[in-house]
């Protein structure tokens, strides 16, 4: 589904990704771990198409097409979803309006009719219930005045509504208390299915207690230096990142 080959990217003059390769297939859950500044968020932003990150080498292929040729909105309509580390507050834009507009942009792209108001509301209420979200959030400004946990739940709500094929969740666990973490994990797990891939970008192992990954990758200085199964995350938790770095450079 997603093939990243030798990807190099920089922001301004700073090179961040230095030859990263990763392959993600439908049904898989990947965890990308690594210390601060290793390039985890950059990877997420480049896949979603953020213009500030310049790709200077390598390739990204998604469902057989050159992903780097697509605008961010085209990537979204093709089934890519990025859960933001810092969801953006947009005062004055109703949450329901954004959800509906996003859903309809995707439906239109797929040649489907716009969703009707009743069907939309029913769907939104159901998804919100699984995330333990108050339906009143629908009528508030997008992330306006939301707490950290509410913003992350709102990201997962958007994901649940849009039903992406490839979801990249950037530090979705950061700043969450245990209840919010469980609710978010619940939302993510309910979306797991054989057609959908999920990439979790995280600093800590904690999230992986609730969402069990098929693969764990360690990112350091813009490259994946070690890959393994979920036991790698536990080893990291115990021994720290230096252990992998030393092993990789030895």
């Amino acid at each position: 589904m997603l093939q990243i080959e030798n990807l190099k990217s920089r922001i301004g003059e700073t090179e961040i990704l230095r030859g990263l390769s990763l392959s993600v297939n439908p049904g898989e859950v990947h965890a990308i771990m690594g210390p601060n500044g290793s390039g985890k968020s950059t990877l997420a932003q480049v896949v979603a198409g953020h213009q500030d990150y310049e790709v200077t080498g390598g390739s990204v292929t998604y469902k057989g097409q050159d992903l780097l040729e697509l605008e961010p909105e085209e990537r979204a309509r093709e089934g890519i979803f990025l859960g933001f580390q810092y969801p953006v507050e947009i005062p004055g834009v109703n949450n329901a309006y954004l959800l509906k507009a996003a859903l309809n942009a995707k439906r239109k792209h797929a040649g489907l009719d716009e969703i009707d108001a009743f069907e939309f509301l029913k769907m939104a209420r159901e998804k919100m219930a699984t995330l333990d979200m108050d339906p009143k959030f629908l009528n508030r400004g997008v992330n306006e005045g939301f707490s950290g946990g509410e913003k992350k739940r709102n990201e997962i709500l958007q994901m649940a509504m849009l039903e992406p094929e490839l979801a990249i969740l950037d530090e979705t666990d950061s700043g969450l208390d245990i209840d919010a973490l469980k609710a978010v994990a619940n939302g993510v797990n309910s979306l797991r299915n054989p057609d959908r891939a999920i990439v979790l970008v995280t600093h800590y192992q904690r999230l992986l207690d609730y969402i069990e990954p098929d693969f764990v990758h360690v990112l350091s200085e813009g490259q994946i230096i070690k890959s393994g199964d979920k036991s790698l995350a536990l080893a990291l938790e115990e021994k720290g990142y230096d252990w992998v770095r030393e092993a990789a450079s030895a």
Binding site: G49, Q51, P72, E73, A76, P87, V88, I90, A105, H109
Partner: protein
């Protein structure tokens, strides 16, 4: 109805402000002078065939008791209980050239007096539409008696391709303890010129709430002059201006706090795209002895193009000690992070831009004190934003 000779009129036109006047530094009235001079030799032209249709559309789309001034002539005098409406034969003699022009060329003025509480808004439609070059005047007095309450919608519109210059003067007197809710909508054609002055005097413990929307026009100059000479006056007025390619919109506001305690708050917001220019000049003068004045002014601008120009100038003059005054202006571009966030949800750049500009403007609409006008304002605003954003490819770089 011309009250003076052609030579006298030409002399008034010659006295119209120029960019050498400090208050008119950024707004060049040469076009208004040219149109006036040409029109003085030609006289009134043929009314536009679309005029009646447009009057009907507007008056039917906003629920109000409508009074219509079309090409400077009063069309109807609605009877509304609690409201006395009279035609005026003349406007008071003016103290500056635009008022002189108004007084000299006025066909018919309107005087509206409100007593008691009027629930249905009073709509005043000032509309111009001719097949040929035209100059029109409107003079409107609105007086709210002591302890009365009313909502007033001023709607300025025009149609036709011919050159047009409209000069309007509105005087609003809010009596002691009265509440005036006021909305001004300006949706003139994109090649037309308007100078408009609104003088407001606010009584003891009176409330004045206002919002002005400049959603059209070619060259627009608004002067809002508020006189607070009574204690307890509570004034808030907002403004929104949308300017696209070729437009020039100038808002000059002036609040004189002569007596305290009293409150005045204003917030103007502008969205500019393409080669255009807007001016916001907010002056607040706290005169000697106006203790307990609370004056606040804010102006925020969103520039979608590097060809757009804004001159934002707050001016506070304070001649007393016991005051609370603040001002703030911002000029910025669309937030790229918000734009990316929306695009990452599948919305294209144009749609995302529309959503963000709409959100920026919506705050002013939400606060507009006349509920009945909001739907029409929102409709005009959305249509204008959509066109402004589609027709300029500058921001897609």
């Amino acid at each position: 109805m011309k009250r003076c000779t052609a030579d006298e009129l030409q002399a008034i036109v010659g006295r119209m402000p120029t960019t050498r006047d400090e208050d008119w530094k950024y707004t060049d009235l040469t076009r208004a002078r040219d149109i006036s001079s040409r029109w003085l030799t030609m006289g009134d032209g043929t009314p536009s065939s679309l005029l009646d249709e447009e009057i009907q559309r507007i008056t039917e789309s906003v629920e109000a008791s409508w009074l219509v001034v079309a090409n400077g002539e009063i069309r109807n005098l609605a009877t509304v209980s609690g409201v006395t409406v009279d035609k005026l034969d003349e406007a008071p003699a003016g103290h500056h050239a635009l008022a002189e022009l108004n007084a000299a060329l006025l066909k018919e003025g309107l005087r509206i007096v409100v007593e008691g509480t009027i629930d249905k808004p009073i709509g005043i439609l000032v509309i111009d539409g001719t097949e040929d070059t035209s100059v029109s005047q409107a003079y409107i007095e609105v007086e709210l008696a002591n302890h009365s309450t009313a909502s007033v919608i001023e709607y300025h519109a025009s149609l036709g391709d011919a050159d047009q210059y409209a000069n309007t003067a509105v005087s609003l007197v809010v009596g002691d303890g009265a509440t005036a809710n006021h909305v001004r909508v300006q949706n003139r054609a994109r090649n037309h010129v308007q100078t408009g002055r609104t003088d407001i005097s606010v009584g003891k413990y009176a409330n004045f709430r206002s919002a002005g929307f400049d959603l059209g026009g070619g060259l627009i100059r608004n002067d809002i002059v508020i006189n607070i000479s009574n204690a307890g006056a509570d004034v808030s007025f907002d403004g929104l201006y949308l300017a696209g390619e070729g437009q020039h919109i100038d808002n000059h506001t002036r609040v004189d706090h002569r007596v305290g305690p009293a409150i005045s708050k204003q917030e103007y917001r502008g969205i500019l795209n393409g080669k255009c220019r807007c001016i916001w000049n907010g002056k607040a003068i706290v005169h000697e002895g106006a203790d307990g004045t609370d004056a606040d002014q804010a102006n925020h601008n969103l520039l979608l193009s590097d060809k757009a120009e804004i001159d934002a100038k707050p001016e506070l003059e304070i001649y007393t000690d016991d005051v609370k005054c603040s001002h703030g202006t911002t000029v910025g571009q669309l937030d790229e992070t918000s734009l990316f966030y929306l695009r990452s949800r599948g919305l294209d750049r144009e749609h995302a831009t529309q959503i963000l500009t709409h959100a920026f403007a919506a705050g002013i609409v939400a606060r507009a004190p006349v509920e009945a006008a909001k739907e029409e304002i929102t409709r005009l605003m959305e249509a204008r934003l959509a066109r402004m954003i589609q027709t300029d490819d500058d921001f897609s770089s």
